[in-house]
């Protein structure tokens, strides 16, 4: 009885070793960078985490093919290194000792990538399935480009400034014109009475005025 058990176990182990080895058919390499993703909150990769991984892959296979035949024991892990990296393969329990085709596994993982990532608190870059590429999400683009809005604001300010300066320049010009015409009118009102070209106000009527023509030549007057 014991011998039969040992024999079955060894057969299973050998079969597993056959199915899951690096570069085996339908096997995928996984690389996990926990310290890069989580820094100080990094957890250690141990057997429990491996169990969770197997569970997630089984979950992905179940969701993808919608047949509930994939068990956790169908997922085989091997060659776990310190990196942390390992190979895994999914066996088909219905068919005899074969692995599920790689394309199915790939499609299943791709469909549920987000769920698998969040289970481990990792991202596409830190939980890498080496042969499975991820589709990149497009960058968020607002409906109006932001730069047009900023440009509009800047242009409005500048045009407002120009209009203000031009209008104030025209107003100053008009005020200067009005002032100069007012001054001209004022000067005209002042020069009302003119006598021989001399305004009457300038004439100091008290002291009199010497007429230079007659006072110029002293020799005209006879000396006393």
């Amino acid at each position: 009885m014991l011998r039969a058990l040992l024999l079955t176990l060894s057969v299973v182990a050998i079969v597993h070793a056959e199915l899951c080895k690096p570069d085996a058919q339908n096997a995928f390499k996984v690389r996990i960078s926990i310290k890069t993703a989580l820094g100080d909150n990094a957890y250690a990769w141990d057997a429990n985490e491996e169990y969770l991984f197997k569970a997630m892959v089984a979950f992905a296979m179940r969701r993808y093919s919608s047949k509930s035949t994939t068990q956790i024991s169908n997922v085989l892990l091997c060659n776990v290194t310190d990196r942390v990296s390992f190979w895994f393969v999914v066996t088909d329990s219905s068919k005899n000792v074969t692995t599920v085709p790689g394309s199915e596994v790939e499609a299943a993982i791709r469909m549920n990538r987000n769920r698998i990532n969040s289970a481990f608190l990792l991202s596409d870059k830190t939980l890498q399935f080496l042969k499975i590429t991820s589709t990149l999400s497009p960058p968020v683009e607002p409906s109006t480009p932001v730069w047009l809005i900023v440009f509009g604001v800047v242009l409005c300010l500048i045009v407002a400034g120009i209009v203000f300066l031009i209008v104030s320049g025209i107003q100053k010009h008009k005020k200067k014109n009005k002032e100069s015409t007012e001054r001209e009118n004022l000067e005209e009102k002042v020069e009302v009475t003119l006598e021989n070209g001399i305004p009457c106000e300038a004439l100091d009527l008290k002291t009199g005025r010497i007429n230079g023509v007659f006072a110029a030549d002293d020799e005209r007057f006879t000396s006393l």
Binding site: S33, R83, S85, W147, F151, V154, I162, L165
Partner: protein, 611 residues
């Protein structure tokens, strides 16, 4: 004939509100984009601190004398460049016309550089910055190929901003976003120069002082970045051996010359609005020293940031190598750090050399990253923008940086536009009754329409041409004729009497020697050396061609012959004004001497002085 004591006090000429405005305008004109993106580059490639020796010698014997000459000329004659040179002698009027032509050509392309700065500025309000990520390709499987092969920053500059063609002969179409930004820039210039110095005098308080604030902020931030000290040590470590190379002396002389914005006519225009009794000697020395100190001050944050960028690139290189090694050998994470990388590499190389060779690791050398020196637009739009992405709070840094560049360029534009505006105002192109706003509006509108050709897809190649040919050789020629004209035609004795009247003290021997002998000789040597160096190889340019084998390296191409003809035209046009105007007056003289109603030439120049 001396032009000084008969000048009436109230000639209706606009004047500065105060002395500080005038000094600030001159400083703003001199301090421009070149102080930030050309001086640090020259310092770096010409032996660091050792470059300061030829730089200060050039400042002493070429920069300060020429600056004093221009300021004294403008202040004494109280006219723009064309009027001033016509006053000295009608035969020398060509110098003024040449200055005016250079100012026009430089204004056209300089504002287009500001257009690029504005485009980056309005794009800095996005999160994440548009030059930090590559766009995806059509089927969303990877990144855009052109972007992936070069970098996101390169892609944003060459494709999203310039949309550059692989060859200068392919003009492409006008780029509408650049047209919008160009219109905005010319609107800003119009807003600030609308009434000449009345409005630029107010605007200069902001545009001249703001860059210093931002430089200080960047200085403080830059010094706290990792790797900043490496950059600074690299910049300032003197290597006296470079002084044996004549190229270094030539670069120092040309840098001082172009940095002080000499021979544009803008300085003459600024000084002409001064009261005549003003100490122009002190002004000249102040402006020159402030300009050089600003160059030095600006190079500190620039090199801190460049050191930071080089260190980050070095760390990235190391990290990439470390990841490949860890993945290949399945070693646990963080077993290899940047510190023990070299010991690990030597160990692995001895044990598994084939595996290591198969990984094709790049050699990471900090010196190599520091050596990647760039100047000009490459520094601002590629290198600096890349460094800004790596800083925390990148939007704020980007916005500050581009506003600073915009103010630096704008204050230089004021000087350029003044060099165009003042002579036109004096030549009475528009009737006196028409407002000044109209003339400045016409200038800005015409310049905008001509500058539209720089918004073509090949526009950046044309700007390089304008920068290299219109903004270099003609200035040397004009400055040479300026010094010769004042020293030997107007005569130093007369000029020194004018300067003494203005400053109130006797002219120092230093000015006599430099104006008479040293500066003209130095200018002649610099001009010959410059032209010889340009002629040594056929004029070529580097083109951004995604289909080139060596992409992302730029492809070296030779200018086609029609482009070379345009280059020669650009360089020759301002220079040829000098002899042409002299010839024109000579012919006019000869014709007048044959005319029976002969009027002597002294009357003409006398009339010129009084008008």
């Amino acid at each position: 004939l001396s032009a000084t004591p008969e000048i009436p006090k109230e000639d209706g000429r606009p004047k500065w509100d105060n002395k500080f405005q005038y000094i600030l305008s001159c400083i703003g004109f001199a301090v421009g984009l070149g102080n930030v993106w050309r001086f640090p580059y020259l310092c770096q490639i010409h032996g660091g601190g050792a470059f300061l020796i030829p730089y200060f010698i050039a400042l002493l014997f070429e920069g300060i004398p020429l600056l004093h000459l221009e300021l004294a000329l403008g202040q004494c004659l109280r006219k723009g460049s064309i009027g001033a040179w016509n006053t000295i002698s009608p035969y020398l009027g060509g110098i003024g016309v040449g200055s005016w032509v250079v100012s026009v050509l430089v204004s056209l392309y300089y504002n287009t550089v500001l257009t690029w700065v504005m485009w980056y500025f309005i794009n800095s309000f996005q999160e994440p910055l548009p030059w930090s990520v590559c766009p995806l390709n059509e089927n969303r499987t990877g990144f855009n190929e052109e972007c992936y092969e070069s970098t996101a920053v390169n892609y944003f500059w060459y494709r999203k901003t310039l949309n550059i063609t692989p060859d200068i002969a392919e003009s492409g179409t006008l780029q509408w976003w650049l047209i919008l930004c160009l219109a905005t820039c010319w609107a800003v210039v119009y807003l600030c120069t609308i009434r000449g110095i009345e409005t630029t005098g107010k605007a200069i308080y902001v545009t001249a002082i703001f860059p210093y604030l931002v430089l200080t902020i960047f200085l403080i931030q830059g010094l706290t970045l990792p790797g900043a000290t490496d950059g600074l040590i690299y910049l300032f470590t003197p290597n006296l051996n470079t002084l044996k190379n004549p190229r270094v002396w030539l670069d120092a002389a040309t840098q001082i010359f172009f940095s002080l914005s000499l021979a544009f006519g803008g300085l003459i225009a600024f000084a002409s609005y001064n009261p005549t009794k003003n100490d122009c000697e002190k002004d000249a020395v102040t402006v020159a020293i402030v300009n050089s100190m600003t160059s030095l001050y600006a190079s500190i944050p620039v090199f801190s940031v460049l050191g930071f960028k080089a260190t980050t690139a070095y760390w990235d290189c190391l990290d990439r190598n470390i990841i490949s090694i860890i993945n290949e050998f399945d070693l646990p994470e963080e077993s290899i750090t940047r510190q023990n990388y070299t010991s690990w590499i030597s160990f692995l190389n001895s044990s598994y050399p084939e595996k290591i060779a198969g990984l094709k690791l790049k050699s990471c050398n900090l010196q190599e990253f520091l050596d990647q020196s760039v100047s000009g637009t490459g520094l601002a739009f590629i290198v600096f923008t890349q460094a800004i992405i790596l800083m925390p709070g990148s939007q704020a840094w980007a916005i500050l940086f581009f506003i600073m560049l915009f103010s630096l360029g704008l204050s230089s534009m004021f000087g350029n536009i003044e060099g165009v505006f003042t002579p036109l105002l004096e030549l009475r192109i528009i009737p006196k009754s028409a407002p000044k706003e109209l003339l400045s509006g016409i200038i800005c509108l015409i310049s905008f329409l001509i500058a539209l050709c720089f918004t073509l897809r090949s526009g950046s190649y044309w700007i390089d041409i304008f920068d290299r040919y219109a903004g270099s050789v003609p200035l040397l020629v004009i400055a040479f004729f300026e010094v010769i004209g004042v020293a030997y035609i107007y005569k130093i004795k007369r000029f020194s009497k004018d300067v003494e009247w203005m400053t109130g003290r006797k002219l120092n021997l230093y000015w006599h020697i430099t104006w008479r002998f040293i500066s003209p000789l130095l200018l002649l040597i610099v001009f010959m050396a410059f032209v010889t160096l340009q002629m040594q190889k056929p004029p070529s340019y580097t083109a951004w061609n995604p289909k080139y084998e060596g992409f992302p390296m730029k492809e070296e191409k030779v200018y086609p012959s029609w482009v070379q003809a345009i280059c020669v035209l650009l360089a020759a046009l301002p220079c040829v004004c000098v002899p042409l105007v002299a010839l024109f007056h000579l012919v006019k003289q000869k014709r007048r001497s044959k005319d029976p109603s002969f009027v002597s030439p002294e009357v003409f120049s006398y009339q010129g002085a009084n008008s």
